[in-house]
Symmetry: C2
Subunit: 463 residues, 2 copies
């Protein structure tokens, strides 16, 4: 089991130039504030930031694994009904650790895994047309129990199950992950007798992948969750460290803050040079955007801060976004995800010896080409004065994925201290929800509906 490391060489002024690179002195200057930030975060470990301790909940892990073992071989499909933090971590880890063709190809006795993180009727309708609910285990995930998207899906699939299997037999096709005691889903669990898991106190959605929120579906899909948790536990040890330059979470948080505030870079691009790691960028996009994108400082001042996460995939996006990245505005910094060793090694067959434009590839490996393109991209970014750091994955395995998750969660918590905002709430999500309830005509939202109607534009400009 190798160590995930962060290489920040190409973010520094002596390599990428003083205009867009961070001077070592700037980083030094932030080190003591960073240590204070880390201490502030770690002090809340046993209070409201319980997610820090998720890698160590052995009893919970055993319960999840026991459930997965009992369900093994019983269902063709595992279907997550959840959205946002109830979905993104599972999607990312599944893509990293199972075959990209898991749902399609040979997968032994393992079920397919679907994460239905939308309510587009065309998605849900097609799902119902193509898959038989009685062959599915539905994992309904909502901490509050009131997420309209998730409860809607629950109503639809519960009804389909009861219709096919009857009231009694439908019960074992549902499993609910929600608050321990509060909320409508917990109440329903009690009435129906569904299997259930707990989203613990102090674990917000975007920090929940290592709780039963992610662990249940991942274990059902055959992921080695103990390996992931061990990686997270090992990284947690490192991320507690007071030595700034030995703690990747501290260094990454400080670089993010400096890139935005000193180098005027509002965008943080996660550029995965691994197909398998690509969706970790989506997971991180939620973690970063919801945690740091805030109107109010902790003192209540209007600050309107927050980096915008941008997701890119190498080498694919070299043929899409790279033009902008190297020649456009200097408004981004880059986090490359790099993998030292692939699972496969593929040699390119030699052919057409007299056609140099193709013959130079013969005998080389796809791995060499992939690595050369990644390193070539970094060379091009650096030459264009675009700062980057690289997370080096020894390989894509459960241990490294666990390390990455824990490291980034701690880093974002530290960013919250630097930006001086609350990294654990999401007041801005509420406005859209309330408007949707109002437009749905839900009881109690009549006033908001009237406001929306009276303020909505009288004439439309369309073309």
């Amino acid at each position: 089991m190798g160590q995930l490391t962060l290489d920040y060489t190409h973010a520094l002024s002596d390599v990428v130039g003083p205009t867009h690179g961070i001077a070592p002195a700037e980083l030094d200057a932030l080190a003591s504030a960073s240590r204070a930030a880390l201490r502030a975060v770690q002090a809340r470990r046993t209070k409201d930031l319980r997610w820090l301790d998720l890698p160590f909940q052995a009893e919970v892990h055993e319960k999840v694994l026991d459930y997965a073992a009992r369900m093994a071989g019983r269902f063709q499909n595992v279907v997550v009904c959840g959205i946002g933090g109830s979905a993104l971590g599972t999607i990312a880890v599944q893509q990293a650790l199972n075959s990209p063709y898991h749902n399609l190809g040979a997968r032994g006795p393992l079920p397919r895994l679907f994460v239905l993180d939308n309510i587009d009727p065309d998605l849900i309708g097609e799902f119902l047309r193509q898959f038989e609910p009685s062959e599915c285990l539905f994992n309904v995930i909502s901490k509050s129990g009131t997420t309209a998207e998730t409860t809607s899906q629950f109503l639809i699939f519960r009804d389909a199950l009861i219709e096919r299997l009857g009231r009694e037999a439908h019960v074992e096709h549902l499993c609910v992950t929600t608050d321990e005691s509060k909320g409508v889903m917990r109440e329903i669990v009690k009435r129906e007798g569904y299997e259930s898991f707990v989203v613990p106190e102090g674990v917000g959605g975007r920090y929940s992948v290592l709780s039963p929120v992610g662990l249940v579906p991942l274990a059902l899909a055959g992921i080695d969750i103990k390996g992931v948790l061990k990686g997270a536990a090992d990284m947690d040890e490192i991320c507690r460290g007071d030595d700034f330059y030995a703690n990747p979470a501290q260094v990454y948080a400080a670089l993010q803050f400096l890139m935005q505030t000193k180098k005027s870079k509002p965008m943080s691009v996660t550029f995965s040079y691994s197909q398998r790691l690509a969706l970790l960028a989506d997971w991180y996009a939620q973690l970063l955007a919801e945690s740091i994108g805030k109107r109010k400082s902790r003192q209540g001042r209007d600050v309107f801060v927050g980096p915008t996460p941008v997701r890119a995939l190498g080498v694919t996006d070299q043929h899409s976004q790279m033009q902008l990245y190297t020649e456009g505005p200097f408004d981004k910094w880059f986090t490359l995800l790099s993998v030292a060793r692939s699972d496969y090694s593929i040699t390119l067959p030699a052919a057409y010896p007299e056609l140099e434009a193709i013959s130079y590839l013969g005998g080389r490996t796809l791995n060499e080409l992939f690595a050369a393109e990644r390193d070539g991209a970094r060379v091009a970014l650096t030459a264009a004065q675009r700062p980057s750091v690289t997370f080096e994955f020894p390989k894509v395995d459960p241990h490294a994925i666990g390390q990455y998750i824990q490291c980034l969660e701690v880093a974002v918590a530290c960013m919250g201290e630097h930006y001086d905002i609350d990294a654990f709430d999401q007041p801005g999500v509420e406005a859209g929800k309330v408007a949707a309830y109002a437009l749905m005509g839900r009881a109690g939202f009549e006033q908001r509906r009237a406001e929306i109607e009276s303020s909505s534009p009288k004439t439309r400009r369309t073309v």
Copy 2:
């Protein structure tokens, strides 16, 4: 067949406020420059911007359909070997018009469609492990014929086919889309006798989805390409129009330019309120980023311009990016994709009448909830002074998809005039390619290799 329309009400100052909204007078002021931009673009229709005429190449369309008819039922899988502009359009249209479970579920006699737009060895290795090449038709797409990723895939799959089927029989499992006369892939077509299609002159990769680049794989996968082309042709008619306020391409281009230059919004978010339209945002991301992200003006001055495309999916990203969008910096504008009529209508079953937090959904439709969330999101964005426009799709069908593609391509061409850059080259892609060749040790790139080695940092900072 309904009409795709652009609603820009919520981008205007009287609705979203004067600080972040465009004043009608500002738009008026740009109208005459916009008409000139459009004329400049349209004047090149028969010269170097031949992509404008792609909807009208009836002979080409017949050849594609004839080929698809001949291949029907012969292969389990169609595999696109292509990247960037050779992949993104196909992926987007396939997702829009086929079932999200096309590759997985019931699809009648149609083949699966895979677009392998990466060379990660773990992706290609898993593909080879899971699928039998002799059941595949490989469509190799590269205009220049020198794209290293694509030629590498060609070498791998050709070798696998010859090994299984022999030299002669492998030929019909390959189909090449490339330049009419130039390049190594055209030379190989002549030698091997592969079926081939032409990427015409004046059609760059990112403007090529309506050429055989996209049409061949889409037709093979059962997409109604004639419907798509008819939509594009109808929109082309509208986009030739000199009346600024009746031409959505002109209005969209002008708004993009004003949002960045007058309202300081470097990011353009495409927020698809349709699972099926989500990957059109990826297609547009390439079109916008490669076309407008430029260092040099047409006069050769350093300008470093270009909006950054950001991709979001409703309702999914309400639980991920919406917090940042409504409370973070005022550095974005939003293009919502909205669908008036879904293919499915799904009624939410009534249950738990005494639990209001869930019973309010009973009897309503998923469609109502989805629409309320979309409209609620727009209300929330507007209340937070975040300007948005909405492309209204009457439904997700071939005609509307064709309209959208043609409209956005013309819009981006017009943006090129406003930004005063060349929207049809991509000089920045070259630097990374050359660096990769150098790092691969390809003949002719020795000097660049030496430069890279001498300039690479001597000490690494890692943590």
